[in-house]
């Protein structure tokens, strides 16, 4: 199984995530699409790690997972805070910082 196949799959997954971030309006789903993109990056990292045959890429993937978990915790905290203030959970309605 060539490494290039894994990289192509990861590129496809990344593009799907990017399209999702652009198309959807619910911040929850946008966070899910961000997860898609981060995981696509992880797949590519593990592919390259397999290509070189050393463990550095796997450490990189683990750190990416840690950062993704932090992003999820903060993002979901913001969404819960929005909901408590009775603000619309919709990225187009939240334009106070738009200027």
């Amino acid at each position: 199984m060539n490494i290039a196949w894994f990289l192509i799959v990861s590129a496809l997954m990344f593009c799907l995530g990017a399209v999702g971030v652009l198309v959807r309006r619910n911040p929850l789903v946008i966070l899910l699409c961000l997860e898609l993109m981060l995981n696509a990056g992880n797949l590519a990292l593990l592919g390259f790690s397999r290509m070189w045959g050393d463990g550095d890429g796997q450490i990189f993937a683990l750190i990416v997972m840690v950062v993704a978990a932090c992003e999820v915790a903060i993002g979901l905290g913001i969404i819960v805070a929005l909901y408590r203030r009775r603000l619309p959970v919709d990225v187009d309605e939240l334009r106070e910082l738009h200027g």
Partner: protein, 201 residues
């Protein structure tokens, strides 16, 4: 090998399409769980056993439970009118943009100077991807990133509690301690038998 690769890739990509296309955020979360499990199996095909298990435990386990709770709390889902506001033009532009990224990445992959991309990868040591190797690397070569990551997790946990906690910032539901103190003499047994605590009937 080929069979499993294509099976897992198709399941993972179908899950990704489901995340983007499903109307109800709850179904999106379930699609992402499917995607993550298929992805962990792809990691196994790359011989990264520890990362695959961590993916299932951390992502499909912990993070997705967090998502499910928040979806159940916020609820609702995309109202139809919210979705229809995303105009057809914007959607087409987004798809064109995604295709452009994919073409770009494919050109980069096909034109790469990394000859090893077209091979099965280097010859592996016997402990490749094992917890022993990962732990060894984390505590020797990558000690600083490891410590920074743990610190980042601590900061994120404190920040999330501060954001979503009951008294998160100033708000209309800000409770004051003195509001809950009873007037003197009420709620006592003396009041129950018709007598106030200060002696008056």
């Amino acid at each position: 090998m080929w069979f499993f690769f294509f099976l897992f890739s198709i399941v993972a990509l179908a899950g990704a399409v489901g995340v983007v296309a499903l109307r109800n955020p709850f179904y999106s979360v379930l699609a992402l769980v499917t995607h993550l499990i298929a992805l962990a199996l792809l990691f196994l095909l790359l011989e990264a056993q520890f990362v695959a298990v961590a993916q299932i435990v951390v992502y499909a386990g912990a993070v997705m439970v967090l998502y499910v709770f928040v979806v159940a709390y916020v609820g609702g889902g995309d109202q139809p009118e919210l979705l229809s506001r995303v105009s057809a033009k914007q959607r087409t532009l987004a798809v064109v943009f995604g295709l452009a990224i994919f073409v770009e990445l494919a050109i980069a992959l096909l034109g790469t100077a990394l000859k090893a991309v077209d091979t099965h990868g280097a010859k592996l040591a016997t402990d490749y991807g094992s917890p022993a190797q990962i732990g060894d690397l984390l505590l020797t070569r990558f000690l600083l990133p490891f410590e920074l990551a743990s610190f980042l997790l601590l900061v994120a946990a404190v920040g999330a509690v501060g954001l979503a906690g009951r008294r998160g910032g100033v708000g209309p539901d800000h409770e004051v301690f003195t509001d809950t103190v009873r007037p003197q003499g009420t709620g006592t047994m003396a009041e129950g038998v018709g007598r106030r605590r200060d002696g008056h009937p």
